[in-house]
Amino acid sequence: MMDIRAMITENTIEFDADLKTREEVLEHISEILVKNNRANNKEVIFNGFLQREKEGTTGIGLQLAIPHCKEEDILEPTIVYITLKNPIDWDSLDEKPVKVVIGLAIPKKYEGTLHLEILSALASNLMEDDFKDKLFKINNKEELINFLYKNL
């Protein structure tokens, strides 16, 4: 049975990443996915993320962006959690810079829907100030995974 601990690991979390643009962040997320055998082809994944941004920004405001892509080259549903050393412009809905990036990688074909339910629950919960404030304060990988496990 899949739970969120199969989707986010200490290798897919990074605090205080020194990245300067939206493109750099998306490329970095793509690298993390490939390095951890969660996706096949960095270029395809990177383009998938870029394409989604073109359809509309994933900077949803309040310092958060949730870039996502759905590709056949994604092998495992994955959450990449990155906090940025310096806030960056993401063309956000509230026009303010982004500090936390939660990347969602979704396989195109995948048995079962539990991962979609977990990602959906995460998206809904991110609209709750209380959940988001608590999440953003965590700066320990294990604690972050446990928090998500307990709250989704």
Partner: protein, 101 residues
């Protein structure tokens, strides 16, 4: 007021759910109950019933995809916005929808 919503987005995972939550929360803030049907990667969730649609004063479409089974809403007052609109300012979307009544 009886307000309903339908949300959808290209991937059907993130914005669909966030917009739905945003509409419900904005409704609570304004003292209205809002039920939102999510049309996403998991299919149709929280489906609006025939009765609910019949009784609704206004239906908000916060969609980036063609509304599934759109003929259910024929003849209803529809307020259509982007899926981002309620995430950005849910209260404004509901207030604007109510102006149509």
């Amino acid at each position: 007021m009886k307000i309903l919503g339908v949300t959808s987005c290209p991937t059907g995972v993130a914005h669909t759910n966030m917009a739905a939550k945003a509409l419900v929360k904005a409704g609570e803030k304004l003292g209205h109950t809002v039920k939102v049907e999510k049309q996403g990667a998991l299919g149709i969730q929280n489906r609006l019933t025939k009765e609910e649609i019949a009784e609704a004063d206004v239906i908000i479409f916060a969609v980036e995809q063609k509304v599934r089974e759109e003929n259910r809403f024929k003849g209803k007052v529809i307020y259509k916005v982007s899926v981002s609109a309620p995430i950005k300012n849910g209260v404004k979307v509901i207030e604007d929808a109510l102006k149509l009544i």
